[in-house]
Each structure stands twice: as structure tokens, then as C-alpha cells.
């Protein structure tokens, strides 16, 4: 599927509609070619979170490779929502694929993930301790006059919620600690990949991939990424087509990284995902802001600001996409 061909068409909310049967077939064919011919692996490992992206990837891999050649891996930790595991299990059962449960909390405790995170939190909220919950949020970027400054939301054991602006040190401390979660998951995924000679499937959608919403060496690490070209709304279309359980399709997107429920919009995109999809599409395809504004029910100024933010995020996260850079090219065999 190419989107550039319809860039000049009237911009409306149907813009990102895809021929789901054709697209599913194309991706499945590509998965077979990548895993079997290019990577020469015997199957695929998918970290299944109970969210829409990993569910679609697991489903497509199963359709492409067969249920006996796909492993669903559940990697909950102390802050995970119980729904994630329950929904992940439901998906694996429906697909009829093997699944393994690996609680990564002991790994994270071993590298002092929780301890380091809590130390960073206490630098701005000294009373933070056992029984507290937290998340990091951004303001809505549609507030055109302000910077996207991270804040910490903490909830005391008695339920009182407080929001404080983060210092750079606190933000980076929390970020570095919590990034260990995605990296620990990847360690476990590659254990199973090695154990069964499988490839690891990455699950980013286009918004995440384009905007660098992943942890390098964590969820950004994979052998193939079969839905990285799809906008979030297209992932939902495919989910319906491949029969992802309805509860997963209706579940609001979440990072499932912090102890307080945090939507991806709060952490990174600051805009409802359907609108963000349209803005990213408009920016990528060079569509004037006024046309996207009409389709997304935003003002022209808001879309222009989103275009700026998209570009800024691309620049700020470009290094995440970069593999290790060599001083000079080194030939390592056939691609």
C-alpha cells in the first residue's frame, strides 16, 4: 500500500482507511519471506502486552507462519496492570499459540530499577514511598504557547493526587530507570529466540516508530517490525480484520510502564491518537495544514504546531534509529 498516491485526494477522516484483506496478505507474505528466507529462523517470538499493536503482530505472525511457529511471551512486572496478562492470555488462547510467562520484577530489582526510580522521584517529592503510585505526563500540545514540559503525578496511599514539574535530573533519573523495563523484556525475548531459533518480532506502529517512542535496546530492538509502516488507526482496522478479541480492540492505549495508569497521549503524543495520525500523515505527505485542520477538527495553528513538534521529535530521536556507527564500512557478508 502506498499513501503518497492519495495525497492530493480530499482530506477527510477516511483518508487512512486501508484494504485490510490485501494489507494483511501483504504483511503475512512479507513475514514469511523475512523470517524464513532472510533471517533463516524457524518461527517468531512476540512480546504480548494485551495491547492492540502486539495483538495484531502476534495474529499476523500466526497467520503467516502457523500457530506452531509463534511464541507469545508475557513479561509482567511489579507495576503492570493485571489486565495486560489476562488479555494477553486470551489472545494466545484464541490463536492457539504457545505462551510463556516471565515475571521480570526480580531482574528489575536486581538492577535497582525501582530503587533508582524512587530515588529520582524523591528528589522532587520527598515523601514518596511505599504505597504511592506515579506517572509522568505532558501537557496537551494544543496549548500552543507552552513548551512540552514533563510533570510527575503522584498519588499517596490515601488517594491524594499531586502534580509537580520535574527537574531535568529527576526526569532523566526516572526515564533511565524505567527504560530498564523494556530492556529486561528484550533480554527475555531473546532467550526464547535463541532457545527455539526464532526471530523476535517488534511491535511498533508508525507513530511510535516515526516519533522515536521506543527504548533503544528495549522495545526498539527486534529482528523485524511488521506494522511499523501502519498508522495507529490502520492497526485498529487490521485488528478487526484478523479477529483480535474485542476487549483488546476497545482498550485505551497505555504504556503500562508506571504504577498510575498512563495513556500514550499523556506521555508522548499529547494529542488524541486519531488526530495525531492525521497530523503525522499530513506532515509526512506534505499536505498543507489547513486541509488536515479541517479533517482533524483542529485549528490551522494547532496543526502547524503539531507539524513543528513532529519535526522536532524526529530530530531529537533520530539517534534512536541509528545502529552503531563505524569509522569506516566493514564488509560482513551478504545482506
Amino acid at each position: 500500500m502506498t499513501l503518497s498516491g492519495i495525497a492530493s485526494a480530499k482530506v477527510n477522516t477516511d483518508l487512512l482507511k486501508i484494504d485490510v484483506a490485501a494489507e494483511a496478505g501483504r504483511i503475512e507474505s512479507s513475514i514469511r519471506d523475512i523470517v524464513v528466507n532472510r533471517l533463516k529462523r524457524k518461527g517468531a517470538v512476540v512480546g504480548v502486552s494485551g495491547g492492540i499493536d502486539s495483538s495484531v503482530v502476534a495474529s499476523l505472525c500466526t497467520r503467516a507462519l502457523g500457530k506452531d511457529r509463534v511464541i507469545a511471551l508475557f513479561t509482567p512486572e511489579a507495576d503492570s496492570s493485571g489486565d495486560s496478562l489476562r488479555l494477553g492470555r486470551a489472545l494466545a488462547a484464541q490463536l492457539g499459540i504457545r505462551s510463556f510467562l516471565e515475571d521480570i520484577s526480580p531482574i528489575l530489582a536486581g538492577i535497582r530499577c525501582y530503587e533508582r526510580r524512587d530515588e529520582a522521584i524523591r528528589s522532587v517529592v520527598p515523601e514518596y514511598g511505599p504505597g504511592y503510585k506515579m506517572k509522568i505526563v505532558l501537557p496537551g500540545l494544543l496549548d500552543a504557547t507552552k513548551y512540552a514540559i514533563f510533570s510527575l503525578v503522584v498519588q499517596s496511599p490515601t488517594g491524594e493526587t499531586r502534580k509537580v514539574r520535574l527537574t531535568a535530573d529527576a526526569y532523566l533519573g526516572i526515564l533511565a530507570a524505567t527504560n530498564c523495563k523494556q530492556r529486561a523484556r528484550k533480554v527475555v525475548e531473546y532467550f526464547y529466540a535463541d532457545r527455539f531459533q526464532y526471530a523476535v518480532a517488534g511491535t511498533p506502529n508508525r507513530l511510535e516508530y516515526d516519533q522515536g517512542f521506543f527504548v533503544k535496546g528495549g522495545d526498539g530492538l527486534a529482528d523485524f517490525k511488521p506494522i511499523a509502516h501502519l498508522y495507529k488507526s490502520q492497526v485498529y482496522q487490521l485488528a478487526a480484520h484478523v479477529g483480535v478479541p474485542e476487549e483488546i480492540q476497545k482498550r485505551p492505549p497505555t504504556t503500562d510502564t508506571y504504577s498510575l495508569e498512563q495513556s500514550q497521549e499523556e506521555f508522548y503524543f499529547s494529542l488524541p491518537l486519531a488526530k495525531m495520525d492525521l497530523c503525522l500523515y499530513g506532515k509526512t505527505e506534505g499536505i498543507p495544514a489547513d486541509q488536515i485542520a479541517e479533517a482533524a477538527d483542529l485549528t490551522v495553528e494547532q496543526v502547524e504546531r503539531m507539524y513543528q513538534q513532529i519535526e522536532a521529535k524526529r530530530n531529537a530521536t533520530s539517534y534512536l534509529h541509528s545502529s552503531a556507527i563505524l569509522v569506516e564500512p566493514v564488509a560482513v557478508g551478504a545482506d
Binding site: 527537574t167 513543528q308 531529537a316
Partner: protein, 91 residues
């Protein structure tokens, strides 16, 4: 004022530009030139607090105050006046 401008410039150049002074003009937009991202704004706010005792209020976190050396100098001067500090005392 010149002392403040130089100190702010030194911080930005050393902290965000690896000391490459020639890359930055005092009216260059930090945002448009990809010099400072949102984490960088937090670092800048921390510097203003630690070095000048200035607390940047949430509503002051706007490009008009922080997006270039020139804007930073004007904002800082205003804050110092507000706090009753003469700019001459800050260097």
C-alpha cells in the same frame, strides 16, 4: 546585562553545543535550530534557578521567554528586577 548574556551563552554553548561557540547567534531560536528540546528546557530552568535564584513559573515556560539568548536575557532581567536584584549583582 552583557555579563548575564555572556553567562547564559556560556551555559547554552557548553551544555547543548559541546562548546562550539560559533554555531550560536544571540537571536537564534533554540527550538527552530534543534538546539534545546523539552529536556533541555528543564536543564535551562534548573540553571536559572541555581545560578540566579530565579524560579520560572509554569505560565512563564513559553518560547517568548526562553527561546534564544536575547529572549533569555530580557526575561532574566525582568525577573531579577521583580525580585529586587540588580543585574549588576549577578556575575
Amino acid at each position: 546585562m552583557q555579563a548575564i548574556a555572556q553567562e547564559l551563552r556560556n551555559f547554552v554553548v557548553n551544555n547543548f553545543l559541546f562548546g562550539q561557540n560559533e554555531k550560536l547567534r544571540n537571536d537564534d531560536s533554540f527550538f527552530d535550530n534543534g538546539i534545546i528540546d523539552s529536556t533541555g528546557i528543564l536543564e535551562l530552568v534548573g540553571f536559572l534557578h541555581e545560578r540566579f535564584g530565579v524560579h520560572v513559573e509554569d505560565q512563564e515556560l513559553i518560547p517568548e521567554n526562553l527561546d534564544s539568548i536575547d529572549r533569555l536575557v530580557a526575561y532574566l532581567q525582568a525577573k531579577l528586577r521583580e525580585n529586587g536584584q540588580a543585574s549588576a549583582s549577578v556575575h
